[in-house]
Symmetry: C2
């Protein structure tokens, strides 16, 4: 597998991205290779002496950089030679099997959709994240590719996630829930009601009904589907609230029983380790004709390494063939 | 002030509601009174001997009960004599100044909107919650009254919350943020972009831009506005994640250092006390011509007592007059 990695995308790019690639080298299969895409001079500077990497890493120059605040349109029209666009071009031309970026999500979605095109039958791509709960991993889609979807898009996300859960996570007959503001079918927006109907009617899915977000970390289903606006809010809020609660507790321990702090710190560390979402790698953009993996903007070298390895594993499974067969039914 | 309280609404109704009303009695002003609405026989049974309450509490019989799964239409058409509808009628006929329920939110919104009508200029009512963060209380609207709003509805929520923050919380020149999935004006749904424009153009508001939900508990603004679907998700997810994180930590402490548990428990208790949202009472349904307060379904007697007292304080401030003046500008 050849994986193109966006060396310029993310809060700690290019250093942490390039270092992440370097740390991956010793875990690669013989036929795996990494293509770092971005500012060639800076990348080579970080890569350092060639003996460490020359058999597994190559560099492709991209003279332009998409910033986090650039719009998807900028990435397509105003900066056509940005690292994401060049990765998508490599994929389209058969030079890369996978593209991976911790950069601007909108630009990734737009470039991959435009250049790599979608799988047959797929109407819109969706970003799927896997995150850990006390009861095991849960899949959530879409988390931001499609903020005003049609019901049929969400129906397809349910089908694609079902394939992913079976093939990648090994879940048999995965349960599917629809994020909504009440359990009753009559609750929510017109979109939510329509999707509820579509899921209910599709006997190939193990649909268990509407799920209230309160239940999220109790793993109410293997797969949860929602529109990209709500999904993005859920993803970011979960992160923010968890951080804030740890901070509340730390502050309170420091205030009431400062002598407990040294004992409390390793417990928190342990929790972070157990519920480390980087373990599941980046988030695949389901539905594109190829493999596009989107990483968290704050990815460090360890996260990038995990994401590259997870992406390669994903790539070897030929998920897309199975998605095409499933949607063709 | 005369406050009508739905004795039949909520997970612990009628016992906890009636007991909550009883506990409020000794805190009431001389001209305050509570009207308990619901199954008269059961309410009188719980109230017990009349010496405890007869000067401040009266009972109005409602022969029907709205269950949590009933639709708003049920509450209006199929069960016209339910406790919520009767409360709204009391308000409309000038028999009650405030209505308060921990029952079915959709039924409350529908009944109050239908019977009490809206304030002049108000297009749609919105539910506003106040909740605590490390940096002070934050206001969020709408959390579920209006799941597919127009931009002008959200603009009005911003104005009504601005009045509320100034008059009830005493915040000078409150900052206003729009919940969105990115800070840039170009981010989000068509609705979010349109509301961003309206807020930006309204110089009577101290609009500080889009706010990502990740920042919620850092109090990024005094007021946050969003559609009722996203707002309901934010409210319930925040609650669910916070609970889950405490559970994670408790489990990990029990696993790694069970001897710390007795010391950890009072710290958690202290945090819950400091960040107790019941301190701020129930959630007002802003925009109705009257005062409607919606409480959490899991309210116990203490929460109900706090909510009644907060509602009475709110009622004395004549917020509605100020909202009408503000919207008429």
């Amino acid at each position: 597998m050849r994986i193109a990695v966006d060396a310029m995308g993310g809060d700690y790019a290019p250093v942490e991205i390039v270092e992440g690639a370097l740390e991956t080298v010793k875990h690669l299969n013989a036929d795996d290779s990494i293509i770092l895409v971005g500012d060639e001079v800076r990348i080579l500077e970080i890569l350092g002496e060639s003996s460490r990497w020359q058999n597994n890493i190559s560099v492709v120059h991209a003279p332009e950089v998409i910033e986090m605040h650039d719009s998807p349109v900028d990435s397509l029209r105003k900066k056509p030679k940005n690292s994401i666009a060049i990765m998508a071009k490599l994929a389209k031309e058969g030079e890369a099997d996978i593209v991976l970026s911790a950069g601007n999500t909108g630009a990734c979605v737009a470039s991959c959709q435009m250049r790599m095109r979608l799988l047959p039958e797929v109407q819109r791509p969706g970003i799927m994240v896997t995150f850990p709960t006390l009861a095991g991993p849960i899949i959530l889609c879409d988390v931001g590719a499609n903020v005003t979807p049609k019901a049929s898009h969400l129906h397809q996300y349910g089908l694609m996630c079902d394939v992913y859960a079976r093939e990648v996570l090994g879940t048999q007959n995965p349960t599917l829930g629809l994020i909504n503001i009440g359990e009753e079918e009559s609750k929510g927006t017109g979109l939510a009601k329509e999707v509820n109907q579509l899921f209910r009617a599709d006997k190939s899915l193990n649909f268990i009904g509407n799920i209230e977000p309160r239940e999220l970390l109790n793993k109410p289903a293997d797969i949860l589907v929602c529109d990209g606006f709500a999904g993005n809010i859920i993803l970011k809020l979960t992160e923010g609230i968890a951080e804030a609660v740890f901070k509340f507790i730390g502050n309170e321990v420091a205030l009431q029983k400062p002598e407990l702090l040294p004992q409390f710190a390793p417990i928190v560390e342990q929790i972070y380790k157990k519920h480390d979402y980087s373990e599941y790698g980046g988030a695949p953009l389901l539905g594109v004709d190829g493999i596009c993996i989107i990483c968290h903007g704050n990815s460090d070298r360890r996260t990038i390494k995990n994401a590259i390895l997870a992406a390669l594993k994903h790539g070897r499974l030929n998920i897309n063939e199975k998605i095409v067969a499933r949607l063709a039914r």
